[in-house]
Amino acid sequence: MLAHLPILQVIVPLMAAPACLILRKPKLVWLFTLLASSLAFIISILLLQQVMVADTISYELGGWSPPWGIEYRIDKLNAFIALIISGVSTVVLLAAQTSIEKEIPEDKQTLFYILYLLSLTGMLGIVTTGDAFNVFVFLEISSLSAYSLIALGKDRRALWASFQYLIMGTIGATFILIGIGLMYQMTGTLNMADLATRLPEVAETRTVTTAYVFFIVGVCLKLALFPLHFWLPNAYAYAPSIVTAFFAATSTKVAAYLLIRFTFSIFGISFSFTTLPMETLFLVLGLLGIFIASTVAIYQDNIKHVFAYSSVAQVGYMIVGFSLSTHAGLTAMLLHMFNHALMKGALFLALAAIIYRVGSTRIADFQGLGRQMPLTMAAVVVGGLSLIGVPLTVGFVSKWYLVVAAIEKGWWWVAGLVLLGSLLAVIYVWRIVETAYFKAPMAGRQPVKEAPMAFLVPVWLLVSANVYFGVDTRLSVEIATAAAKSLFGVAQ
């Protein structure tokens, strides 16, 4: 069975989804979903172990050899991303049942879990496949389920947010489709590895340039890279809190993965960064994203908005690392993708717990929570510190690598700006901490209890991961470095 792991990675959640429809009973469905997701998690771990020794695993679907058939191609990079996605999804699911019971009407809970599984499938599919068009198909699976999941939010604004996301997402997908089409037209193949070998021959043509631009723009829409980010905050803010926790930690990572994959291993670094001015473009956008998004985050009243905007800012950090187009820079980016998943997962899950108790997401309603929900708030504080980049948290590690990478490239000012940017995080995190710890609970609100175990366990799992990988970075750094190295191996 080990030989089939690559496909099982995707098939397990995919097949589980329709099966849920047969199970019907929400509680049962939840357990089943949890099972499927954790299976996917285990598979991804096994896969990662395999690729850390053997360089890449190729799996020919339908027994047709690429480029004629569809190929699944696992290397260090996508094994790493798959691990992040399936891991976060599993941890988040632990809390799902409790939170969903309260936020979604009984008759729709089963559907919720199906959609959740489907979006998981979509993301994993995008990451593991080695075929350009297959990416598009799974992209659509993940997006369609995402739209519906977001629309399940209680607030009516969820609907509008979801619709905006649908429009933006579909435009993005169509752009990607155009990009793929042009690539296909110039090379006659859809297989990524094959594309990588055949594109250089036609790299000079205007068509290929166009193809790249369209593909990248489409991806950046999904990535919510500033200034294409405006669909994200509302989508995160009004979705069911579990969904927010899941997406905030994973969805941007998937888009980032596509960016890396196509830029480095398909178009090749020389094309992307010497033929086209991607370097400066991404650098500028990234930095702008960091500063503007963080500044906006400071002025939000809805705490979900605060962290949503901070997500946009964090994407900025990733993109800065990307724009360095050096091994160090890429390592930093990958590390940050991993670390950011941990931070945001922890934070949004903690928020979910608070929403479960308090039923509101406005900072004003956090008054006095420091005493009423000590453990949850403590989690928020640690997550916040990690976001700021305080030593002994993962945030520090990624900052460290990013800044070192920038300095090594001789971009001192970038390094400075990156650090300055993290100061903005201090402000918006501390606003929350102060409200929670130094303000007495509002007269109107009756005191709330500490969140139930169903929340505390996963939240603290993630929080301790934040600290653990902030102290013992061997694992994450090793994988990230190896992945980055392999990419540059492909690129040259």
Partner: protein, 502 residues
């Protein structure tokens, strides 16, 4: 008990943190809880002393914890400068604990458990800073210290406390992330090591302008050293309960700051390099300016704690100057001043606290004639002031003396003038307080005068008094018997004292 020095070293850092468990456990029973604190501080002091003896007998003590980033690990080693800091910190922590028991109860503050917890963690941080063997380790514990003292500053939980806390954390965290961390990373890339090395780590051919900029980043980044314009957090932190102020201003935070400055100056740049850097002169003047300005501001403060705070700012200036002069006597002066100022200032703060508890007074203008009511406290205050000013028979004399020597050696006459002037200013803003306390009458309260003859003695709680006594005594002893301190200080620069275990 016969624990290896390495173990003791680690215990110094871990024990205070572990103590929090005990403190929380005994949340209900005050006495047990305080007992835990005292025992811990006693043990830590014992450990430090035995490490000190080990160091004297030429042993090389170093501990290596886990590796955080490739080539960068959390590791500790003992060297004289750190030794001085550790000795003072652990000793004065003991004293402060004793004092604060009296204070907190006399003032019956709430959340005392949280108070003692953070206190303990803070000391753990200080020990970590003191024994850190590389910049990363130092930085980590530096931040631990910042964060653990934040709840202490905002202890009261009032609006004012919150505001103070905001400034405190804002400045310390921002400077440390934006400048300090940046400088560290720069160092890492240029020298690709962060280990403290005798004579500096930078390669010969390194670009001096760049290094100059990095030096500036360091000095500004180490906000705890409170060099203007990044000193605002210090007065802001005055909202904290007095023991905290004592800890912040005499022992933990500010000293950690100047200590870091010294470490960077001596072991990252190295004195020879410091001299040639283009920015050193500029920083010297900046420090000088900070000394003078702070003194002037101090004179205008009526709130006693605020005045002391600004006096601290100026005193820290001295220490920075000492390093930047980049001569052996300068370094000696600075390292001694760390000790001297610690004792002097803590005495003063203890007194301030005692006055607050006993007489409920915080403004200097109200303290006329207080000497009759609290003679003991006021005498102690007098001694402390002397030490700060640098007059015999107190320890402060020595550090001032060496500092002036250093300025002479390097012909920094302007700096020398500044030092002279500021000493005069010290007299001007400290002496009046005990003077008025003894030689002028109680202010006239609502209509009828209070008879100045028979005011009954009303001192602070006994625990506090003991603490005050010890501290004040310390000032005197350091004058009569400064040799061990001096030996340590002069050992800092001896190359044979490698700071590396391996």
């Amino acid at each position: 008990m016969n624990l290896s020095l390495e173990t003791l070293l680690q215990l110094c850092i871990l024990l205070p943190v572990l103590a929090t468990i005990g403190i929380v456990a005994f949340n209900r029973h005050q006495n047990l809880r305080e007992a835990v604190s005292i025992f811990t501080s006693l043990f830590v002091f014992y450990a430090v002393v035995s490490i000190y003896l080990g160091l004297q007998s030429g042993e090389i003590i170093s501990v290596h914890w886990l590796q955080i980033l490739p080539g960068l690990s959390v590791s500790f080693a003992v060297e004289p400068l750190g030794m001085i800091f550790a000795l003072i910190a652990s000793f004065l922590w003991l004293v402060t604990i004793i004092y604060s028991i009296g204070y907190m109860r006399g003032h019956n503050e709430d959340h005392q458990t949280r108070f003692y917890c953070c206190f303990a963690i803070a000391i753990g941080g200080v020990m970590g800073v003191a024994f850190a063997d590389n910049l990363l380790t130092l930085f980590i514990f530096y931040e631990v210290l910042t964060l653990s003292t934040y709840p202490l500053v905002t202890h009261a939980g009032t609006e004012a406390a919150k505001k103070g806390g905001r400034i405190y954390l804002g400045i310390l965290l921002s400077t440390s992330i934006a400048f300090f961390l940046f400088a560290i990373l720069g160092t890492w890339v240029i020298a690709d090591t962060l280990d403290f090395t005798q004579g500096g780590v930078f390669p010969e051919d390194a670009n001096t302008t760049l290094l100059g900029i990095i030096l500036v980043l360091f000095i500004f980044g180490i906000g705890k050293a409170a060099i203007m314009p990044f000193h605002r957090w210090l007065p802001a932190a005055m909202v904290a309960p007095t023991p905290v102020s004592a800890l912040l201003h005499a022992v933990a935070v500010v000293k950690a700051g100047v200590f870091t400055v010294m470490k960077v100056g001596v072991f990252i740049f190295g004195l020879d390099l410091l001299v040639v850097l283009p920015t050193t002169q500029f920083l010297l003047y900046l420090a000088g300016a900070s000394v003078l300005l702070a003194s002037f501001v101090a004179m205008r403060q009526d709130n006693l704690k605020a005045r002391l705070a600004y006096s601290t700012v100026s005193q820290l200036g001295y220490i920075t100057i000492g390093v930047l002069l980049a001569t052996s006597s300068g370094v000696i002066a600075s390292s001694m001043n760390i000790a001297m100022h610690a004792f002097g200032k803590i005495t003063l703060f203890f007194c301030a606290g005692a006055i607050l508890v006993a007489a409920h007074k915080s403004n200097i203008s109200e303290m006329r004639g207080l000497g009759r009511q609290m003679p003991f406290t006021m005498v102690a205050f007098f001694i402390g002031s002397l030490s700060i000013i640098g007059l015999p028979p107190t320890g402060g004399t020595w550090s001032k003396w060496y500092l002036l020597m250093a300025t002479l050696e390097t012909e920094q006459l302007i700096i020398m003038a500044i030092l002279m002037l500021s000493s005069l200013l010290n007299i001007a803003y400290l002496m009046p307080i005990p003077f008025h306390a003894f030689f002028s009458n109680m202010p006239v309260k609502n209509g009828y005068g209070v008879s100045t003859d028979k005011v009954q003695i009303k001192e602070a709680p006994i625990a506090s008094l003991i603490a005050i006594g010890i501290a004040a005594l310390g000032c005197l002893i350091l004058f009569i018997y400064p040799n061990p301190l001096y030996e340590l200080a002069s050992a800092i620069l001896e190359p044979k004292q490698s700071t590396h275990g391996n």
